[in-house]
């Protein structure tokens, strides 16, 4: 059986793929950190901090799951539960904190052009502003 000096067998290739998944997840996390520092508003910041962080942690936990599966031969149910739980709760918490921010009247960014929810939630202020 021919095997070169630098060639990898199948398990090592899959471990390398798992490590690359983890690296991709960390790059996504840095991108979302840039989003959370550069965007002008709490709503856009929650967009950056919730969605892409969820993708980052999904990629890295998937990499860890594949690595443990190939390297140790165990299917770790705890990592699967962690993936499921993060995937379930991160959008919910992002929605809740954005809702609380809007209802406690955190102002939008100056470059926002339209606020359709304001007439529904706070109709008194519009009357007050017109009169």
């Amino acid at each position: 059986m021919w095997r070169g000096e630098l060639s990898l067998n199948g398990n090592q290739i899959i471990e390398l793929v798992a490590a690359l998944l983890i690296l991709l997840g960390s790059i996504m996390s840095v991108i979302s950190a840039f989003g959370i520092i550069r965007l002008p508003d709490v709503y856009t910041r929650s967009h950056a901090g919730t969605k892409s962080s969820t993708l980052a942690v999904l990629l890295s936990l998937l990499g860890a799951f594949v690595y443990f599966w190939i390297h140790d031969g165990i299917i770790s149910v705890r990592i699967l539960l962690g993936i499921f739980f993060v995937f379930l709760t991160a959008p919910v918490s992002g929605h809740l904190i954005t809702r609380a921010a809007y209802r406690s009247k955190v102002p939008l960014a100056d470059t926002s052009t339209e606020d359709a929810l304001k007439e529904v939630l706070f109709p008194d202020e519009k009357i007050k502003a017109n009169s």
Binding site: E15, A19, I22, S29, A33, V57, L61, G63, I79
Partner: protein
């Protein structure tokens, strides 16, 4: 090779936690800080997974679940406090 990739990923996660920490210190409103804290919790989950690969142990994997649950519940508590001013609503004697 794999260890170098894992250490690079750890450094990148640490950089993103530091940036979120800057947003927590500077952030103008309370929901900004809550979003950044949620992001720090999510990044800590990934760091624990990578550290458990590097140290070749499976003992840390419970901490993933515990951190996920704690980050979710604390974010809900902060958002309820921001919206209504109280965290636990007690029934008044009506």
């Amino acid at each position: 090779m794999i260890e170098k990739i894992l250490f690079t990923a750890l450094a990148l996660f640490a950089i993103s936690i530091l940036i979120a920490l800057y947003r927590i210190i500077k952030g103008p409103t309370t929901p900004d800080r809550a979003v950044a804290l949620d992001m720090i919790g999510v990044n800590l989950i990934s760091i624990i997974a990578i550290v458990s690969i590097v140290l070749k142990t499976k003992a840390f994997l419970e901490a993933i679940l515990i951190l996920g649950i704690l980050a979710f519940i604390s974010t809900i508590a902060i958002s309820k406090y921001v919206e209504r001013g109280v965290i636990i609503e007690r029934k008044s004697d009506n």
